[in-house]
Symmetry: C2
Subunit: 340 residues, 2 copies
């Protein structure tokens, strides 16, 4: 029998393994319905949201829960509400900075209306919102972005050790002091990609700051392994405010990197973001995935890693294609085509 | 610098290579628009087709060009035409075989109306059409399936040799006598997956019959590497009939296999399907892809192989994610979830 080409360093992960988990791998990646698989459910779901648009730009940029649209004032000189859409009127100067200011005014009214989660999470970092031509047409404060349902971007890296016993991953445990997902498991290093950052330089910064890995090691060994795109729905109970009775919609693009480390290179917490790092084998990581103790957008990155490294294969995972489909989802929004 | 994990046996294929080609890799995989990326274009395109439905089954099963719908009679006791859909009425016995007969009657009327390509391609093989629950709800003669725009299935295998110089692929050249795509390049072995066949046994049969590879070699070394799904549009000029003024829609699911061969194992034509086999290196295959001389649904299989084997990577291919997205497309039809 010829040697298999690039994988099977590990015992295959069959359905018997997965039945001991509370979540299947597909449960982890599955979320907002596709129009193609369920047009009626897709349309029904979207009835609870207003499409967020900008006058003169032919695209939906996000989705705002109807409850939120109704709970604040949208001044008629800046906003049109019509046919299930909320449209930011073209400002006289047609400038991104002016649109950003009108968005900020709306965010301030949300805070006044009781959406205090925005303030708690405030970081003074803004996400860019792209138009169909790849231009940044406005910017939104990071902690309010979920309420607009815009596409956000981030970078994530998994460091790993590989030897005759197979692959082990450096998994981070988030600090209990983190505002979001305290105590949950995470990739080795990760961060948001805010205005003006390139994926590669943002990733290098996060890896040196969060995991204390030497800059030279990172720059020599870090590989860009593609981006994933998916569409997460987050229950209002854990959303920014109790008042949003519908889940917020979180479409995301994550730029992924990986870095093979020698046994002797050990990530260590540096800032207060990470409690510890543990070097886990495949079974330990799969078990943690099944128990749902990974931060959701880190869990999907781990699954993508396992697919690329042949741990999850079509011969053993019946939902293999569905999982890939969800991880490289065609989002119904413009996204930047950034190279890493 | 740590060794890369599973690829880069070959020089990276950058955009400089691709600009010498007439077709980019993305051109090859891109076809029918996604609703999510272009709702208006999607809706506009579908105006030229009737959705093919079966009464009592809540799904679109295919798309029939309007010109074809208008060119034959659809007896009122068996068919309803309404709101851009053509619906096969539930027969009194609600049997798949009865529905199959009504479809066959319609196909006969198409042949009488001049769609003689159906007869030329006739093979007495039927494709199953699945409902949302995975049941076969009717069957359609293979040579007429494109006119109904139903999802068809096939199996394809690439055999390859791997040594210190990298990977070489066993590429088949189709016989000039083939009804479809004569003289074009193909995977090592391929075939349709018609009613009652399993992907693995169909693949073994094709590989022994078309490529004369020993059954023992195939069974020991053949690996299932997942299915791809995509949505091809085929110009009417090469469609089954000149009368279809619109492209026919060809959604497909292909079950993919690969088999690493020793230098000494050489595929040889056996039946009249294949003219010759050539052992080509990566550059030769990429060049042929760019020149558009691969059969379209074999070209996409070669691209998937190159992605899995690290020849096409996110570091060198700017449309990497888009290509994956197109190859694992969420089709707007029910498909069987077959394991190989």
């Amino acid at each position: 029998m010829p040697a298999t080409f690039f994988h099977l360093d590990h015992p295959p992960i069959g359905s018997t393994v997965r039945t001991t988990m509370s979540k299947t791998l597909f449960d982890i990646v599955s979320d907002f319905p596709y129009y193609e698989e369920a047009p009626a459910r897709f349309t029904e779901t979207l009835k609870s949201y207003h499409a967020f648009k900008v006058q003169g730009i032919d695209a939906t940029l996000g989705y705002i829960p109807n409850t939120l649209v109704r709970s604040i004032r949208w001044p008629k000189e800046h906003w049109m509400i019509d046919m299930g859409a909320i449209v930011l009127i073209k400002p006289p100067d047609n400038a991104a900075s002016t649109r950003t200011q009108f968005i900020q005014d709306a965010i301030n009214r949300m805070i006044e209306a009781g959406y205090t989660g925005i303030l708690k999470g405030w970081r003074n970092e803004r996400f860019p919102v792209y138009g169909p031509d790849g231009d940044v047409i406005l910017e939104i404060e990071r902690s309010a972005s979920a309420l607009f349902g815009i596409v956000t971007s981030g970078v994530q890296m998994l460091c790993y050790v590989k030897d005759v016993n197979g692959i082990r991953l450096w998994i981070a445990k988030r600090s209990m002091q983190k505002q979001t997902y305290p105590g949950m498991l995470d990739c080795t290093a990760a961060g948001a990609l805010t205005v003006g950052e390139s994926p590669r330089s943002a990733m290098i910064l996060e890896a040196t700051e969060e995991a204390s890995i030497g800059r030279q090691i990172i720059e020599n060994g870090m590989r860009y392994v593609g981006s994933i795109s998916y569409f997460h729905m987050k229950d209002s109970s854990i959303a920014l405010s109790e008042q949003a009775s519908r889940p917020v919609l979180l479409p995301e693009v994550e730029y992924l990197f990986e870095l093979q480390l020698d046994e002797g290179t050990v990530p260590r917490p540096k800032d207060s973001e990470v409690e510890d790092f543990r070097l886990w084998n495949v079974d330990q990581v799969l078990d943690a995935l099944g128990r749902g103790i990974f931060k959701p957008n880190s869990a999907v990155v781990v699954i993508d890693f396992f697919i690329r490294h042949g741990v999850i294969t079509p011969e053993t995972e019946p939902m293999y294609e569905e999982i890939i489909r969800r991880l490289r989802r065609q989002l119904p929004f413009p996204t930047a085509e950034r190279s890493a």
